[in-house]
Structures are given as C-alpha cells and as structure tokens.
C-alpha cells in the first residue's frame, strides 16, 4: 500500500514518517507541496515541522499549497489523512478538523516522552490499538495548546472524536487534555504527539507509535 508523506518547505519529520511507514510494512511515497498530483497513494501523512517557517500562524500558509487542495478534496471522499504536530495544525487551518492549536500556556517548548490514552480505537489510524490503551510517544511543540468553542468540544466528546488524550500530565495546556481528534468519518486524524518517533527501540521511548501506521494498512486490506 502506497502512503504519501508531504514535504513542505520547513517540514522536519517527513523522513521519520516515511521510515515509520516502511517499518509498518507500507510503501512510502514522497509528495511535494507544490505538486497537486497525489501519485496514486491510498493514504497521506502530513508530517511535523515548521512549514513555511510558521509564518502568520502555524499551518496557515501550508493550507493553501497546491498539494493541500488535492488532499482536501480526497479527504472528503474518504482518503485516510494523518496530521502529526504541524500536520495537525495544517488540518485545523484547512477546516478538515475543528478547533485550533495555540501557543502553549506556559510559553515553553515542551519536548518529552508522553503518556497518552487511545480513546477512539476505531479510526483508520488507530484500529490496531485496544480501546483505552496507554501508549508512550514523544511530544515536542511550542504551539500545541488545542482550543475549540465549548459547543464544539461537547460535540467532539459526544461523538467519540477525541482520539488520544494526554495522561500523566498535560504538556501544553490543551483544553480537556485533548492530544488528538478525528473528523466525523474517522478517516482524518490529527494529533500533536509524534508516533513516527516511537517505532524502534533504538531511537524511541517505545514502539507504541507503530500502531498508527499499521492501522491504516489493516484498514485498507479489510
């Protein structure tokens, strides 16, 4: 299965995301921000980093890149899309996901291994996890504080669309400890922590992150 990983100017974690796809058993395909062509991929990852230097707002300029127009169209038809960190910010700016990511409440960049609880194990990207599984993956962000209108938050909670929640301490002040959410259909998932950095024991705190990448492969087969 071909999984596209988009590189924007300023993307940092595109190579790690490609590597995670390969370790999970998929075929990573590099996608370029300036190219509308999705090259026949069956899923897309928007990786972490600082696209367009985080100018204006994180993800605000990337959202209008030619590749994003194609991704927004296809996401509406069910294409699985995973946004990690800056990718999550881009998905919110694109209105594929509700809410926004703002400056961490304590103003510090937070970089640590983070305990998370997988609260929705039925999305395209989390099917490999047991419901309420606790996993450890790195978190590293300066603008990861998730906010949304109270009505929107109640809707997300009511529809089971909080995919992962911070456990063992909230690293950035996100409302209701929300670390990641999905759209109504469950094909678009965004999260601030970095599962692609937890796929090998040599370099990560665990291999818990691999589940995000195997999930989409399993979803495609079934």
């Amino acid at each position: 299965m071909k999984i596209g990983v988009v590189t924007f100017p300023g993307s940092l974690d595109d190579r790690d995301a490609q590597r995670a796809v390969r370790l999970a058993g998929g075929e990573p395909v590099a996608l370029w921000h300036g190219d509308e062509d999705l090259r026949g991929v069956e899923a897309v990852i928007l990786p972490g980093g600082f696209s367009y230097g985080d100018y204006l707002r994180c993800g605000a300029i990337a959202r209008f890149a030619p590749v994003m127009q194609s991704i927004i169209d296809r996401a509406g038809q069910g294409l699985p899309v995973l946004g990690i960190c800056n990718g999550f910010q881009i998905l919110c700016e694109s209105h594929l996901l509700p809410g926004a990511l703002t400056r961490n409440v304590h103003l510090h960049f937070r970089n640590r291994d983070q305990l998370l609880r997988v609260e929705n194990a039925s999305t395209e990207w989390t099917g490999a996890f047991e419901p309420d599984a606790e996993i450890v993956v790195p978190v590293k962000n300066g603008e990861g504080c998730f906010v949304a209108a109270p009505g929107e938050l109640d809707r997300l909670e009511g529809e089971g669309r909080v995919v992962v929640r911070y456990a063992g301490g909230n690293p950035n002040g996100s409302v209701r400890d929300i670390a990641g959410i999905c759209n109504e259909r469950g094909n678009v998932v965004g999260l601030m922590p970095h599962p692609e950095h937890a796929v090998e024991t040599l370099t990560g705190p665990s291999t818990d992150g691999l589940g995000f990448f195997t999930s989409v492969l399993t979803a495609a087969v079934s």
């Binding site: 204006l56 509700p98 809410g99 409440v105 103003l107 906010v147 209108a149």
Partner: protein
C-alpha cells in the same frame, strides 16, 4: 496608492499567554496600573484603486485571521 490597516486579535475568550507574560514583565519593571494586555497582529496593505472593501474583508478572513480563534478589524485610510 490606498492603504489598508488590518488588526487581528485573539477572541476575548481565547487565553493569550504572551500578553500575560508581557503584563508580568511590566510589573517586575515597576510599571504599575496596567491591568491587562492582549497581543495581536497588525498588517499594512497597499492596494489598487478603487478599493473593494468586501474583497479585502474576504482576504482578511481567508488568510490574515483564523476565525476559529481570532477576529479582525479593517480600516481603509483616507487619502
């Protein structure tokens, strides 16, 4: 060439940790009497004549501000 000023501020209900940090610094420096600071963004545009204000508002709403967390004011400067 007409000039347009756009100010973007976080909505009142959105926490502004940067403003809070500036407020804290002011009190440490001995500047008293300031009770609140909100930090925002200021844009200055030079645009073609005649000014299409509706189109400028669309521009601000599309890119300069994120309506989920921000609101903007737009002023066309008199020539």
């Amino acid at each position: 060439m007409p000039r347009v000023l756009v100010d973007v501020m976080l909505k009142p209900e959105i926490l502004d940790p940067q403003g809070s940090a500036i407020l804290g610094a002011l009190s440490r420096l001995g500047f008293t009497g300031v009770h609140s600071i909100r930090q925002g963004k200021h844009f200055e545009l030079e645009v073609s004549d005649p000014v299409d204000e509706a189109r400028l508002r669309e521009l601000a709403d599309t890119l300069l501000a994120n309506s989920v967390i921000e609101e903007f004011t737009l002023r066309v400067l008199p020539r």
